[in-house]
């Protein structure tokens, strides 16, 4: 049985496809995304406070490498589809980075499937945010001989990612959860833990609306974008699962890494690419990431990746 939060996504998608004027206020969208990041972080932090801290260094290193290598690996494949160099680089960056909402949906799917997930999983999201963007920008620089906009401002970029909303709230939540622990966070449970799935449902309604708005562009970019939007996550889920097995994660962890690898960033990546690689076609990337890959993962991909993890992980 499909998870109830996915129905909200489908409702949003439907609303947009029938051209409904339904629209969530922008402030609500921003509030929901702040909430989700904090809540995911907090929950992870509380779990971490209950157990001896695993040595995270190998995980962090492996995931950073994975995030960086995804755009590098996708680049030649995307070029085969006749994408320009900068477009291939920018699109790759979206897949090297991750989608927090996809993480949240996978988390609830794992809970429903009774597959335990490593406590530090929210940290993975934080680690995976940046390396893919970095690789994408480097690839774009290498592919574009001359560039009107001058050398990238690396310092600024690093700052924007590290102290950007996502990483800051995720890591902030983790630290608060870990320091305050289960008892210390009990008084805020009624806001940050209990309503989590309901809030996720609302957020998916909004994302259905936004993703639906992108579907119209699929026709414009044709078959290539469809191929990328479905092919890339399928391919990358294998990469993620392999990384998870290598790191010795449990079934839940393997499924989650498969999901994260397969997910494409539709917030951090578009913003970063717009500034650092303005020549790239932003609409193309966002159509693939948000119009195709995101719905695919939410509705079809996640159950698939869980199944994959189960098979790979006896």
């Amino acid at each position: 049985m499909i998870d109830v939060v996915v129905f909200f996504f489908l409702l949003g998608l439907f609303a947009r496809l029938v051209r409904s004027e339904l629209k969530l206020p922008e402030a609500l969208y921003e509030t929901l995304s702040i909430y989700l990041l904090l809540a995911i972080g907090l929950k992870g932090g509380i779990e971490l406070s209950k157990q001896p801290l695993a040595t995270l260094a190998p995980e962090v290193a492996a995931l950073a490498a994975m995030g960086f290598l995804i755009p590098v690996g996708l680049y030649p494949l995307l070029r085969l589809l006749r994408l320009s160099g900068v477009d291939a680089a920018a699109l790759g960056a979206h897949y090297g980075s991750v989608s927090v909402v996809t993480f949240a949906v996978a988390q609830t799917a794992l809970a429903r499937a009774n597959l335990p997930l490593e406590a530090q999983a929210p940290l993975w999201v934080a680690v995976l945010e940046a390396p893919g963007l970095l690789a994408g920008i480097l690839l774009a620089r290498l592919s574009a001989a001359r560039d009107a906009s001058g050398p990238p401002r690396w310092g600024e970029l690093a700052h924007d990612v590290l102290f950007g909303k996502s990483v800051l709230l995720l890591v902030g939540g983790i630290v608060i959860g870990a320091v305050a622990g289960e008892a210390g966070t009990a008084p805020i449970k009624a806001v940050f833990i209990d309503p989590f799935k309901g809030v996720l449902a609302l957020f998916l309604l909004e994302l259905g609306l936004v993703a639906g708005g992108r579907l119209g562009d699929v026709r414009r970019f044709g078959f290539a974008v469809l191929l990328v939007g479905i092919g890339a996550p399928l391919l990358l889920s294998g990469v993620g699962a392999a990384t998870g097995l290598l790191l010795g994660l449990g079934t839940g962890g393997v499924a989650m890494l498969a999901t994260l690898a397969a997910s494409a960033s539709y917030i951090a990546a578009p913003t970063a690419m717009r500034i650092a690689v303005p020549q790239a076609n932003a609409a193309l990337s966002i159509t693939a990431a948000l119009g195709i890959t995101f719905p695919f993962n939410i509705v079809i991909g996640i159950p698939l990746y869980i199944e994959l993890a189960r098979r790979l992980h006896p």
Binding site: A148, S149, V210, R214, Y266, I267, P270, T271, R274, I275, P278, Q279, A282, A283, S285, I286, L290
Partner: protein
């Protein structure tokens, strides 16, 4: 009831662009000596354009810069050369008059 005020001619440069450009545009304006700026959140569309706002860049801003004509022209040329090729940017000049010339 008043004798006519003494006013000073200036130019208002209005730049309607995707929100990602707010920071760089303000930086450029400041570098050229513009003394202040005003931004409103707007929405809109360029009907026949091939480029189109992306997801987060769907947000559009209207930046208003009040300065002398020469500065406005220099800034507009720079924006045209540097951002217009890859970003959504619409620009126009409007005549304006101010009372405190030292501020604009």
């Amino acid at each position: 009831m008043n004798t006519p005020l003494h006013t000073h001619p200036r130019t208002l440069l209005v730049i309607v662009a995707e929100a990602a450009l707010e920071k760089p545009l303000v930086r450029d304006a400041r570098a050229r000596g513009v003394q202040g700026w005003t931004v409103s959140e707007v929405h809109g569309r360029f009907f026949e354009g091939e480029r189109e706002g992306a997801w987060e860049a769907d947000r559009t801003i209207e930046l208003k810069l009040l300065c002398d004509r020469a500065t406005a022209e220099a800034l507009a040329s720079e924006v045209l050369a540097r951002y217009a090729p890859h970003y959504s940017v619409a620009m126009y000049f409007t005549p304006a008059e101010v009372l405190r010339p030292e501020r604009f």
